[in-house]
């Protein structure tokens, strides 16, 4: 046995004017990407799909294809972060966006991941907003004596200016008239309560909630694969009532469905088709998929692929785009932003391009390693030698 001590050594990037290594370790996509370079036409296509959904209210969908490492996940996560910032609840046309890392085997898997990505706080907040909206409408219609201003309903309930029990029966009735799904109505409203809120949330996410707990909440059945389509549509209805311009469902790693038995695959695609048909307004599906798998789907499942409408293809980066990518990443950790790619040199960029063949993930990974190597061996620049050393190791 040898003695082993772990020494934590902090690398010093300051000689390059950097506060740290700006390149994500081994090219794993950031949760909240801030840099998006080199795929302007892809972004443009996605933007046009989203804008027409928001502006014309008509649902629009797009498939994003690209080989492994060309930035599909990065694109989807970038879209999510961007939309949540720019189209938050406070904007004129709020958008609700949820990210699904992989489709799974059934639509309920997609639904569950989507709900978890929206998160407990957000959906609970929707429940509050819905009760607040009903309070506002009841006040306007003279059904309660208290004056409630628009958008202030839940605040008035929180203050005790409006009696919750005055609002709840009407809210339940109104919501159920809209979604025709009484269990969902109850669970959604119960999110606003204190004591069973967590169980309601689990139920709403499609997790099986045991019988005795369901009884306490007056919930008949758990959400199953078939009902998950209704549940998804119910949430979309609620968002529309609350003034959301659209709902964006991002599904990553769609190529996973190739591993499913044909029956399951067909069923999942049918469910998605169903979702598209049921929601002719205010829905955008953005699906990322390996190109060869998408070609198969186009060939075999027209009913689904026809409904997607648009395709955007992520291409490998050329040298110019690699330069821009480097500058953007470096600027993220620079004390003073500038338009150079130092400590990288022109020849190292060429070498990165050759070796990565423009694959974004490999580019980032090489840059990250090269920078660490240069720090460790106290190099002034990242040149051909540095890259050769990394590549050969």
């Amino acid at each position: 046995m040898t003695d082993y001590t772990l020494t934590l050594k902090k690398k010093d990037y300051s000689k390059y004017g950097l506060e740290g290594n700006p390149f994500p370790f081994s090219g794993v996509p950031d949760e909240h990407p801030s840099v998006y370079i080199g795929q302007d036409d892809v972004l443009e296509k996605i933007n046009s799909v989203l804008s027409s959904t928001v502006l014309s209210a008509q649902s629009n969908h797009i498939i994003v294809t690209g080989s492994y490492g060309n930035g599909k996940s990065h694109t989807l996560k970038f879209i999510k972060t961007h939309l949540r910032d720019q189209f938050s609840e406070r904007s004129q046309t709020p958008i609700c966006v949820g990210y699904v890392s992989q489709p799974g085997e059934n639509f309920i898997d997609i639904y569950t991941k989507f709900m978890y990505d929206l998160g407990y706080s957000f959906v609970k907040h929707l429940s509050h907003k819905y009760l607040g909206l009903v309070a506002f409408q009841m006040s306007k219609d003279g059904l309660i004596e208290e004056k409630v201003r628009k958008g202030q309903g839940w605040k008035e309930i929180e203050k005790g200016a409006v009696l919750l029990s005055d609002i709840v029966p009407t809210a339940i009735q109104k919501l159920n008239d809209g979604i025709k799904y009484v269990d969902y109505t109850r669970a959604f409203i119960a999110l606003s309560y204190e004591e069973n809120s967590v169980y309601s949330w689990e139920w709403l996410c499609g997790e099986g909630v045991e019988y005795s707990k369901r009884q306490e909440l007056s919930l008949g059945k758990n959400i199953n694969d078939t009902n998950s389509i209704r549940a998804f549509s119910a949430l979309k209805y609620i968002l529309k009532e609350l003034g959301y311009a659209s709902l964006v469902l991002l599904i990553d790693e769609f190529e996973y469905i190739e591993s499913l038995p044909p029956m399951k695959k067909q069923k999942l695609l049918n469910s998605l088709r169903h979702i598209i048909d049921l929601n002719g307004e205010g829905l955008s599906l953005i699906i990322a998929c390996a190109p060869e798998v998408w070609q198969n789907i186009v060939a075999e499942y027209h009913a689904f692929s026809e409904r997607i409408g648009k395709e955007a293809n992520l291409k490998p980066l050329d040298q110019e785009k690699i330069r821009m990518l480097l500058i953007s990443y470096l600027n993220n950790k620079r004390r003073k932003r500038n338009n150079t790619f130092t400590p990288f040199t022109e020849e190292s960029i060429e070498c990165i391009f050759m070796h990565s063949q423009g694959n974004t993930r490999r580019v980032i990974s090489l840059c990250s390693q090269a920078l660490d190597f240069s720090v460790e061996f106290n190099k002034q620049y990242i040149d051909q030698d540095v890259l050769d050393s990394i590549i050969s190791s």
Partner: protein, 343 residues
């Protein structure tokens, strides 16, 4: 710790909190179902009666004419509950003002507004739940509007099967009128879920502000101690008597024990007047004696709580009090963390 000692002024004297109201039931003939404890336990010059029960008894008009205190030779403070539970269970359609007049007429010191209790199986999504909460709120507001005796304290009753519903209710009532205090019902159902019970009481205590907070129907010595710690001012219960009927004896230091589980000894482990003057066998065989002893235990507990509140060492006292009672000890630990803001 959320408890501060209060002095509540009433027409028949001052209440020093924490205070216990033994429940005094009238049978249809109009006589009391429980022993005249107030003659024996100087500490307990308090009583909780049911306004609807009195109204339908044969002696109602005599009580109205003489006043309750005079009629029962009871020189103490009367808390008149409304009869809401009977109202709900038997669909009596009682009128809040009529009940208020009974409370005022018999000379009550404190009156609880007519509630429509929410029951354990009333689901929060069901219309019944909302309707009952609304009726309870409306009745409270109506009582405040039509009260004639300004000296009688009026407590608004709080109900509901969820913390949010109940905190919203008390906030709403606070805005609608100046009640003299708040009384919380339906907590018997929550006894088994101590976290919910504790969260609820802490929230209601905060909202009640300086006003007295009463809890209906929870009145064993241990639960009184825990709720006192959380700032509840008054309690009522008939469990001392019902425990007596089931031969359950409140022990001085621990919880309660079944007589049949206790080894028969020449005397019992208590020196209250009941246990001092009677033998083990005499007490075991008479419900009334067990009931009276149990009431002594509650009075004793309250005295200890008062002393420790004044000495500002209630926490030390309760640390010891609950040390060997695993269940309530866990609850108390949670309550301490909660009031200290650690959870």
């Amino acid at each position: 710790m959320l408890q501060t000692q209060k002095c509540i002024e009433t027409p028949h004297g001052t209440l020093e909190t924490p205070v216990f109201f033994p429940v005094f039931h009238l049978n249809t003939r109009g006589s009391g179902s429980c022993p005249k404890y107030w003659n024996e336990i100087p500490e307990l010059k308090t009583m909780l009666v049911n306004a609807h029960g009195i109204q339908k008894s044969e002696r109602f008009h005599r009580i109205l004419k003489n006043g309750f205190q005079e009629q029962f030779h009871f020189p103490g403070i009367v808390f008149a509950d409304s009869g809401g539970l009977q109202n709900r269970l038997n669909n009596l359609k009682l009128d809040p003002v009529e009940i208020l007049r009974v409370q005022e007429g018999i000379g009550a010191d404190i009156a609880a507004t007519l509630d429509m209790p929410v029951l354990a199986n009333d689901n929060i999504s069901a219309t019944t739940h909302a309707e009952n909460v609304k009726a309870t709120v409306q009745n409270a507001i109506t009582a405040l509007k039509y009260r004639e005796r300004e000296d009688m304290l009026l407590y608004a009753v709080i109900h509901g099967n969820d913390l949010k519903v109940m905190t919203n209710m008390i906030d709403y009532l606070k805005r609608k009128g100046n009640f003299d205090g708040y009384a919380v019902g339906g907590l018997i159902f929550k006894r088994s879920n101590y976290r919910q019970l504790i969260d609820l009481i802490i929230n209601l205590r905060k909202r009640a502000g300086e006003k007295p907070l009463h809890v209906f129907g929870l009145g064993g010595p241990l639960v009184i101690s825990l709720l006192t710690y959380l700032g509840v001012d008054s309690f009522d219960s008939s469990s001392f008597l019902s425990a007596g009927s089931q031969r359950v004896y409140f022990t001085p230091d621990h919880g309660s024990r079944q007589f049949r589980e206790m080894p028969q000894t020449p005397y019992l482990p208590c020196i209250c007047p009941v246990c001092s003057k009677n033998t083990f066998e005499q007490i075991r065989s008479q419900r009334r004696l067990i009931g009276m002893h149990n009431l002594w235990m509650i009075a004793h507990e309250l005295r200890k709580l008062k002393v420790h509140i004044l000495d500002q060492d209630l926490e030390d006292y309760l640390d010891n009090r609950f040390a060997n009672r695993p269940q309530i000890k866990i609850a108390y630990k949670y309550a301490k963390a909660k009031t200290g803001g650690f959870v």
